[in-house]
């Protein structure tokens, strides 16, 4: 259905997400560091970016995200990270959603669908309403 740029350095997780998201009909391309992500975003023009925060080399996910957005403001970026403490951090606000990595992929999938729907409708959603409270 959509072209998703996955930015994730852990190979096993790349495999997992490619399988799962591929099963939903999405085309998943992968970048394993921040710099490559920026380049691929420019080249492949994905419909959505899933961004990890901790990445190798000098550029982390937050910086990579801001560079991608400065190239193209309209691309929705979903932060998918093992850190829970940056959720309220102002740097994360540029993202559509902040998902904490979990074996339960439903929150991630939900966020993806929401962002894609909004993109179709022609506007981006706000990161704060993309926040899913736990247990609700």
């Amino acid at each position: 259905m959509a072209k998703i740029l996955l930015v994730e350095d852990e190979t096993a997780l790349c495999l997992l997400y490619q399988t799962e998201l591929g099963a939903e009909g999405h085309e998943v391309v992968v970048a394993q560091d921040g710099k490559t992500a920026v380049e691929m975003a420019a080249r492949a023009k994905p419909d959505l970016v899933i961004m990890d925060i901790s990445l190798p080399e000098k550029m982390d996910g937050i910086e990579s995200m801001s560079r991608i957005l400065s190239q193209d403001k309209s691309i929705p970026v979903i932060i998918n990270t093992g850190y829970s403490q940056y959720r309220d951090n102002f740097m994360s606000w540029a993202a559509e959603a902040y998902v904490v990595k979990s074996a339960d992929l439903r929150p991630l999938k939900k966020a993806i669908n929401k962002a894609l729907r909004a993109r179709q409708r022609g506007k981006k959603t706000d990161a704060s309403s993309g926040h899913e409270p736990e247990g609700a």
Partner: protein, 574 residues
């Protein structure tokens, strides 16, 4: 009295005696063995001599015994020793101290061999003592910063020794709020018997001022009096009261008859059994510190302006020392507070770095967990016809989710909680959460009963965070029921004035008082595994909502946790 050479010399002597008496000087004659032959009226009065004193050794006057004998002026003058003089101190039966200068000269007058001239130098000596006293006190106070010790030294100087020689002295200090004069310390005997005993001890031992000042603290008798004075409190605002007046006018006041004087309150008079006393202010560097009272209760010597003035001058010195001690105490207290604050800061810093470490650790763990659980879910989904594989994969997935939840629990503690509050229906939140928790309860053979008050108005809360609190308390209840025969949890909701109160009661083993008081502390846990953070996180969340969490417990029966969440009084609420 028929020594000497006949009526003529007796007459001569009497005339001389009359002259000498008029001069206010004492005169006495001694024989070759230094035995008293004759003393004039003045001397007899001073030393309490009578007809039976004649023929006695010179010690009836000079008081020399034992080790003093070699220094005795009278003995020295006897046997051709030449002119000698010495000082004699004497405390009479009424406790009055006097000091005499004794000049002994060899003479040949009939069979008298020594004539002694005695002059009363009590006043001069007293004044010298006063100067010595001030200087000794200054020395003793140097480096004394303990307020109690300072007060004791001051009061000792006022009552002991002969410089000021009051019988009793009391100190009242202004309290923190500067509203009341509060009794602090007292020195003095509590009865006549005690007073007499002390005087005879004093005159026997003739302790020097140094020795008196070296005594570390109040004597037993003083403690009784101190206790009495410590129960007294006089408001400064009571302008008519003598203590307040002294303080406010910064002048000494003598009260001659406490019972009749309006300025002395009945309570004060009765408690201290005051009769005639003097009250002086304690002022240092323009700061009012308190007042000091002194009296001659037992010796009953009259108090005059002179005494008052002496005491006032002395108290100026004392006030400086008291002010210093006070300032020192205050500084000490502030240092203690700073130390405490510093300690708290260090603890907070340590906790923060633990938090940071926990954050990174959790991140490191999450990635592999996501992989393991994610693939287990994938296996489960693809093994459509393999029941065993599905089940196995399910187990892996569930355990991973459990680990994720533990991690979330650790991190939420270290992350500042910022709730996003909306109107929330507590009952539906409870029901929904319990539904999700259902299989845990069933597997454990636990019965859950709901006692929810219907039609509760909405509260103002972050539903995600309150759900977390509910989960934490349910988990806690489930853990408490482990190994119990009766396994029941009752969850109730009820309206209170301020909001909704949610209760979680279990039939677990309960906890003792010590545990109960510590149960909300971070990292406190009685369980073998468990971070000990669930309840402290819950407390934090509830506090952020302006609510309260508490627990009652009975060892052996179970515990009940109570959580209150305030009503929603925003316009958007129900």
């Amino acid at each position: 009295m028929d020594h000497g050479s006949g009526a003529a010399s007796a007459q001569e002597r009497d005339r001389l005696s009359t002259i000498v008496d008029a001069m206010g000087v004492g005169l006495a004659l001694f024989d070759a063995q230094a035995k008293l032959q004759w003393a004039n009226g003045t001397l007899m009065r001073w030393f309490g001599l009578g007809p039976d004193s004649i023929g006695r050794a010179c010690s009836v006057i000079c008081g020399c015994e034992g080790e003093h004998k070699p220094a005795c002026a009278l003995l020295g003058a006897t046997g051709g020793g030449g002119r000698r003089s010495g000082v004699v101190e004497r405390t009479n039966a009424a406790g009055e101290w006097n000091c005499y200068l004794l000049a002994a000269m060899p003479v040949e007058y009939g069979d008298s061999r020594v004539v002694a001239l005695v002059m009363d130098i009590t006043e001069q000596r007293r004044q010298t003592e006063q100067v010595r006293l001030i200087s000794k006190l200054t020395q003793a106070l140097e480096g004394t910063l303990d307020l109690d010790r300072v007060l004791h030294l001051v009061l000792t100087c006022v009552t002991a020794g002969h410089a000021l020689g009051f019988n009793r002295a009391f100190v009242f200090l202004l309290d923190e709020g500067k509203q009341n004069l509060v009794g602090k310390m007292a020195v003095g005997p509590t009865s006549h018997e005690e007073a007499s005993r002390i005087w005879s001890e004093l005159s026997e031992q003739s302790r020097t001022l140094e020795e008196l000042l070296a005594v570390p603290g109040p004597a037993e008798g003083d403690q009784a009096l101190t206790q009495v004075v410590q129960s007294l409190k006089v408001p400064v605002a009571q302008a008519g009261n003598v203590l307040a007046q002294t303080l406010n006018t910064r002048a000494a006041i003598i009260v001659h008859n406490a019972l009749a004087d309006q300025r002395v309150g009945d309570e004060l008079t009765a408690a201290l059994e005051l009769e005639e006393f003097v009250c002086v202010p304690l002022v240092a560097r323009d700061e009012l510190l308190g007042v000091m009272l002194a009296d001659h209760k037992f010796s009953r010597a009259p108090i005059d302006e002179h005494h008052a003035e002496l005491l006032r001058v002395f108290s100026a010195q004392a006030s400086l020392a008291i002010a210093n001690a006070r300032a020192y105490n205050k500084i000490s207290e502030q240092m203690e507070e700073i130390k405490r604050a510093q300690h708290d800061l260090i603890e907070a810093e340590q906790l923060a770095s633990v938090g940071r470490m926990a954050g990174h650790l959790a991140h490191e763990i999450r990635n592999p967990l996501t992989t393991i659980g994610g693939f287990a879910a994938a296996i489960k989904r693809s093994a459509t016809s393999d029941e065993l594989t599905r089940k196995n994969a399910s187990v892996i997935y569930d355990e991973v989710i459990r680990l994720e939840r533990t991690l979330a629990g650790v991190l939420d503690f270290t992350r500042p909680v910022r709730p996003r509050k909306t109107p929330v229906d507590v009952n539906s939140l409870v029901r929904r959460t319990i539904r999700e928790f259902g299989n845990v309860l069933d597997d454990g053979g636990i019965t859950l009963r709901l006692e929810l008050q219907e039609d509760l108005k909405r509260v103002r809360a972050d539903s995600g965070l309150i759900t977390q609190v509910i989960i934490n308390l349910l988990k806690n209840a489930v853990e408490a029921l482990e190994g119990r025969d009766r396994r029941q949890i009752v969850v109730g909701t009820a309206a209170s004035e301020k909001g909704v109160v949610v209760t979680f009661s279990d039939t677990g083993g309960g906890m003792d008082e010590t545990t109960r008081q510590m149960i909300f502390a971070p990292f406190f846990t009685t369980k073998v595994s468990g971070s000990g953070l669930g309840l402290s996180v819950s407390q934090k969340i509830v506090a952020e909502h302006g609510g309260e969490i508490s627990v009652e417990s009975e060892l052996g029966s179970g515990s009940t946790f109570r959580v209150s969440v305030p009503w929603d009084d925003s316009k958007a609420g129900g």
